[in-house]
């Protein structure tokens, strides 16, 4: 079989029955880098990255998974578009990698999964007393803003509040927020919602108490 001109879907279907290392070699050549990339992303979700050897081990697990039960996943694979096997491979890679890390943490922590910090804590050990105080003030003020957002659930729903902080505090773009599942807004819609929340919050903050 001339593997070079064959689509990845056809190659995967051929590997469902093939005992030829050459066919498998071609599938690995085309697909192993994608599996490795997805596994690396899952590893970052779990532990802010992982050793190259671990990623390689999981990539191997992914392909062995395809061969379980007499290559059931490959036998059942029905192409639903060009290179749709790559979509299936991504899903299998995420699943195998999640299983791997869940198992790993289960052993290490006696069944309790502990989420590791994914970003460095910028303030730890680097800030002097003045900065610490300023950060505390900052925290208090943000907390007050959040309390205001939570004070009117009829006007500012939990979803609006999440969008507001994801954009202004966590730095997600409107496009990234629009891409989140169930948000149901375009990037323009997100911007419009953010404007509404920000204007409402400005008005709330501007309300002064007696004598204020």
């Amino acid at each position: 079989m001339n593997e070079i001109g064959v689509s990845v879907n056809d190659l995967a279907k051929a590997c469902a029955r093939s005992t030829e290392a050459a066919e498998w070699g071609e599938l690995l050549r085309r697909c192993a880098p994608l599996a490795a990339m997805v596994v690396g992303r899952v590893a970052r979700l779990w532990m802010n990255g992982s050793s190259p050897a671990t990623v390689d081990d999981i990539v191997q697990e992914v392909f062995l998974k395809l061969c379980e039960q007499e290559r059931r996943i490959l036998r059942d694979f029905q192409p639903r578009g060009e290179d749709s096997f790559l979509g299936l491979l991504r899903i299998v890679s995420v699943s195998v990698a999640n299983d791997h890390f869940r198992r790993l943490y289960s052993v290490k922590r006696g069944g309790k999964v502990v989420t590791m910090p994914i970003v460095e804590d910028a303030s730890t050990g680097k800030t002097d007393g003045a900065c610490q105080t300023a950060l505390m003030h900052q925290s208090v003020l943000l907390d007050q803003l959040d309390k205001k957002l939570r004070s009117a659930p009829e006007t500012i729903g939990e979803r609006d509040r999440a969008l507001f902080w994801l954009y202004y505090l966590q730095g997600l773009t409107a496009e990234e927020i629009a891409a989140l599942p169930d948000v149901g807004l375009t990037a323009k819609g997100v911007e419009s919602a953010l404007r509404r929340v920000a204007n409402w919050l400005r008005a709330e903050v501007a309300k002064r108490g007696p004598g204020g």
Partner: protein
């Protein structure tokens, strides 16, 4: 780093500081990399959820497997947690085929990218068992296999059917139909005439077996998952059927505060408030019930259970004209002829009452 955000010494009122903080935040002047989020206890800002989601929850979010309530909880948490917002952002790229330059460089360095590694694994994979296709044997085994498959399909079908008819939702609906104790409807219940004498508050009445069965299942599930919103809602629904309105309201209010409001949650809470209000004479409870049903109506404008209950409570609240309009809407959407007949009956009675009032006024 802090000068842009908070003045070192207070130069104005607390309100001024808050205004300045908001403007700096909106203008994007929060010092990059020194977000105060790490300094904040998550619970203080996130309110409902302080626990870190497990990493695979972000992959469920990315793959679209997470339920809307889970999505809301994850977004609410990520909104105020720096680490988890980074995970959220990462999860958005999880299924992307595009590799960043860093990813491409890292992947290229892996052993799995090398021809040697791939050749060795290819040999191993090629040796894994292949599904056998022995034609003759397969033909000989075809009929027994087909029989076995048919049995399995039948068993699976029966199991699914059994599970369907014995879900707690279904059992509660059957319990309601078996002994409908109040005017309002509950989701999924078949028609029954109101039988108040069979369900009088305080009377020693034997509960329908379906209600006892549902209660046992609900308690069993809540034992292993005490915070599960679905089972808590069903527990509250069972409470309403047993006239235990206070615990039902306590549960449903809590769910409405923590979960996105769904029509069924609002219908259940409205039923609990209305029944309590009817027993105690509380105007506030019955007004609240109507408020919840209006919200449910906005969320599900063609839901016949919502419309039925809304019309009943509008009538109770003296909003006769609104009730007439709601009954008419209800009759457009209701498909069950017996429920339809009850709606028509109630509408006619209401219209007669209005006509009498008009005649009297003239």
């Amino acid at each position: 780093m802090n000068d842009n955000f908070i003045p070192n010494c207070p130069t104005g009122s607390a309100e001024d500081a808050l205004e300045r903080a908001l403007e700096k935040l909106i203008a994007g002047l929060l010092p990059n990399g020194e977000s105060p989020v790490a300094e904040l206890p998550d619970a203080s800002l996130s309110g409902a959820s302080s626990a870190y989601p497990e990493p695979d929850e972000w992959t469920r979010l990315a793959s679209g497997e997470a339920r809307p309530a889970e999505v809301d909880a994850l977004l609410a948490h990520a909104a105020v947690c720096r680490g988890c917002s980074a995970r959220l952002r990462l999860s958005l790229r999880l299924f992307s085929t595009e590799a960043s330059p860093e990813e491409a460089a890292e992947t290229a360095k892996l052993a799995s990218a090398s021809p040697d590694w791939q050749r060795q694994l290819a040999i191993r994979l090629a040796r894994t068992p292949v599904h056998s296709q022995h034609g003759k044997t397969a033909r000989l085994l075809l009929w027994p296999a087909a029989g076995l498959a048919a049995t399995l399909v039948l068993s699976a079908g029966l199991t699914l059917w059994w599970q369907h008819v014995h879900t707690p939702e279904r059992l509660l609906a059957e319990a309601y139909t078996h002994s409908r104790g109040f005017d309002l409807r509950i989701p999924g219940a078949g028609f029954a005439e109101v039988a108040p004498e069979a369900h009088r508050r305080g009377a020693a009445v034997r509960e329908p077996s379906q209600l006892l069965d549902a209660r046992a299942r609900i308690e069993d599930r809540l034992h292993s998952a005490p915070g599960d919103p679905r089972w808590l809602q069903l527990e509250a629904r069972a409470d309403v059927l047993e006239d235990k309105y206070d615990p039902a309201i306590e549960i449903l209010d809590r769910l409405l505060a923590s979960e996105p409001a769904t029509p069924s949650l609002l219908v259940d809470d409205a039923a609990a408030y209305f029944q309590r209000g009817s027993c105690s004479g509380s105007e506030a409870d019955r007004a609240k019930a109507l408020d919840y049903l209006r919200r449910a109506d906005e969320l599900a404008p063609g839901n016949s259970v919502v419309l039925f209950n809304e019309a009943v409570i509008m009538e109770d609240r003296g909003q006769a004209m609104n009730a007439v309009e709601t009954w008419n809407r209800y009759l457009r959407f209701e498909r069950d002829p017996r429920w339809q007949a009850e709606g028509r009956r109630r509408l006619q009675a209401l219209e007669q009452k209005l006509n009498r009032l008009k005649t009297h006024a003239n």
